[in-house]
């Protein structure tokens, strides 16, 4: 039996703007088990990064968590005082951001930045922490780490900085690593090196990874389970095989079809998803994908429940209604209950 590490239940996050509330996350429920690698896929505005920030308690005004609970090893994380959070964040849960240029302090040596984290969370002495920093840098594939720890961020390339960030995030052996688009700003050959690191992490049973990305290729290569988000909601969830070979939701299918096939070549026309993502200031009451969906029907004006497709595979789409039962929502996700009534 796998251990439940993180449970997110009915999460809603809104940002107050002059034009009204931007409902970035609108009732998201999922879990991550110890040691697994879960991909959270979505385009900009899908709510994937905001969900990650909510888990890390990094939502700042005008943003606000307006509903839902986040539990880590059975302990409720919302409303924890910031002091408690500081012990948790970077220690048991850590995060890597997209842009390694802005996440490092430009006027501090790499070694000093790393040892600061290690000393704070692990209580090591300065020389022990430095030795640990060198070991971690070597582990993420940085050559000559003894010399590198004395250098400044500008002396590192983009890919190396991202590796430093990952080394720092791993320095306290976190139980959960959240990586938000960790390779998006990098060249493809550098991305491949970072993905190798994530593949190694996948084999590590002590660290679970939530990998947030818009790149289906990255997900296919690195993840065991996938959560597909759109318009602030989860559209479909399943194993990588479920998502890549047995996708049910028209949005997932649309995404998979819109990328050119590598094999076969040819100039056949791409199958595009017409239209644009919904405006989250005034989101549609029903399925967020309805407006762009080739299968849209009258019923879609009403939000479907999550349908249970198979073990761990669920889809938020009325098309699944005839063949699959709705999920018993254990959560307080009231809208889903209302929708099924």
């Amino acid at each position: 039996m796998t251990e439940r590490l993180l449970s997110v239940d009915g999460l809603r996050v809104s940002f107050r703007t002059r034009d009204g509330d931007n409902q970035a996350v609108r009732g998201v429920s999922f879990h991550i088990d110890a040691g697994e690698t879960v991909g959270i896929v979505g385009e900009s505005g899908s709510g994937k990064s905001v969900t990650a920030k909510a888990i890390m308690s990094l939502i700042q005004p005008p943003g606000e968590i307006i509903a839902g609970s986040i539990e880590f090893r059975g302990e409720r994380l919302n409303d924890l005082p910031e002091k408690t959070w500081r012990k948790l964040r970077g220690n048991r849960i850590s995060m890597v951001f997209q842009d390694p240029m802005t996440s490092l302090n430009p006027v501090k040596r790499i070694g000093d930045q790393m040892t600061e984290v290690i000393r704070r969370h692990r209580g090591l002495k300065a020389d022990e922490a430095l030795a640990e920093a060198i070991r971690l840098l070597r582990e993420v594939g940085i050559a000559d780490p003894e010399r590198r720890v004395r250098q400044y961020p500008h002396e590192f390339s983009g890919g190396m900085r991202q590796r430093v960030m990952i080394a720092m995030a791993l320095s306290c052996s976190p139980e959960l690593l959240i990586a938000d688009e960790p390779t998006t700003a990098l060249d493809v050959t550098i991305q491949a090196q970072i993905l190798e690191l994530f593949k190694q992490l996948k084999a590590n049973p002590d660290t679970a990874v939530a990998l947030i990305t818009h790149d289906l290729g990255v997900v296919a290569q690195v993840c065991t389970r996938v959560i597909v988000m759109y318009g602030g909601m989860i559209m479909e969830e399943g194993t990588v095989e479920d998502i890549f070979y047995r996708a049910q939701h028209p949005y997932t299918l649309g995404l998979l079809r819109s990328v050119p096939k590598r094999a076969g070549g040819g100039r056949e026309r791409l199958i595009a998803i017409e239209g644009t993502p919904p405006d989250l200031l005034d989101p549609p009451p029903g399925c967020p994908f309805m407006e762009r969906c080739p299968h849209a029907m009258a019923k879609c004006a009403e939000l479907p429940p999550m349908f249970h497709i198979g073990p761990g595979h669920r889809s938020l789409c009325w098309l699944a209604e005839d063949d699959h039962p709705p999920e018993k929502s254990a959560s307080g996700d009231v809208r889903h209950k209302e929708a099924t009534l």
């Binding site: 050959t189 290569q221 095989e241 819109s258 590598r262 595009a272 998803i273």
Partner: protein, 300 residues
């Protein structure tokens, strides 16, 4: 693309060096060779893809073709005419025929201009249409790129990224160009919107007989849209071939490394990454040689 159509763009030994620093007497002491001897031809109606990683010089090549930069050496012939040394006045007709679409649809449109002004501006500069006639032409173009006539008096901030890129495309096409330099035109767009824009670029190419230089780092999209592809590394072309040939039979180790690094959207795909660490030292670079018809590679 048939091989007998005429060569529209002919780039010969193009070099663009940037002076990084100067010594006391103002002589250049540090030089960045962004583009260092690049030659290729693009035939009429063809899409030539230029790929490479950041710093490879691919965007600099695009900017040289647009004469946004004056180049250090080499020449560019457009439709048989050498445009390398023309002054701004002589260049003007070519400025109409050669248009561009850039990556970031947020910074490439003036936020203070409405759609009619944005798309009408190039027409104004090149003296095409006026008054109501121009408005009609702009509205027709808008509809052609999938927007509506009602959008004429809206401002860029009212549009999504994909829609802004459509406006950029309409703006580029407003003066009926022959050749469009597309520099990462879809990189900033959402995945679900990229395919729309690529399809539209292909439709417009067929309709107006356009020739494209398509610069990108997304290798799978480049393969889809390009007839031929050039791979750049450190300011030089290391391989040029028909796109399928390049992907099926890459010969240069750098091309092999680049292609093998693409994450395939298939969890069962067995891919072995080829790592290439053997960086080409300066001065050691090799010339492109034709190894099979149309397939050029720079190897010793």
């Amino acid at each position: 693309m048939s091989n007998d159509s005429k060569i529209l763009v002919d780039v010969r030994n193009l070099k663009k060096h940037f002076v990084k620093s100067k010594d006391l007497l103002g002589r250049p002491s540090g030089v960045l060779k962004a583009v260092d001897g690049v030659s290729f031809q693009i035939r009429q109606g063809e899409t030539f893809g230029l790929v490479g990683e950041s710093g490879s010089g691919k965007s600099t090549v695009g900017r040289c073709l647009l004469r946004l930069y004056d180049y250090t050496a080499g020449e560019v012939r457009f439709d048989g005419q050498n445009i390398s040394s023309l002054d701004e006045k002589q260049l003007k007709p070519f400025r109409r025929k050669i248009q561009s679409i850039f990556q970031d649809p947020y910074s490439s449109l003036n936020p203070g201009m409405n759609v009619l002004e944005l798309i009408g501006e190039p027409m104004n500069i090149h003296g095409l249409y006026s008054g109501d006639e121009r408005k009609e032409a702009v509205a027709a173009l808008l509809e052609r790129v999938g927007l509506k006539r009602e959008h004429l008096y809206r401002y860029p901030h009212e549009f999504s990224g994909g829609q802004r890129q459509r406006i950029s495309i309409a703006r580029a096409l407003s003066v009926r160009p022959d050749f469009v330099v597309c520099d990462e035109p879809i990189s900033a767009l959402d995945v679900s919107v990229q395919a729309q824009v690529v399809n539209m670029l292909e439709d417009l190419q067929a309709e107006f007989g356009l020739t494209y230089l398509f610069i990108a780092h997304d290798l799978s999209m480049v393969r889809h849209i390009s007839d031929r592809i050039g791979v750049m590394y450190k300011g030089r072309l290391v391989e040029v071939a028909d796109s399928d040939e390049l992907y099926d039979n890459p010969l240069h180790p750098y091309t092999q490394a680049l292609l093998s690094a693409i994450p395939v959207p298939d969890p069962h795909a067995v891919s072995e990454r080829i790592v290439w660490t053997d960086a080409i030292a300066e001065g050691e670079a090799h010339e492109l040689r034709e190894v099979s018809p149309g397939h050029f590679v720079a190897l010793p």
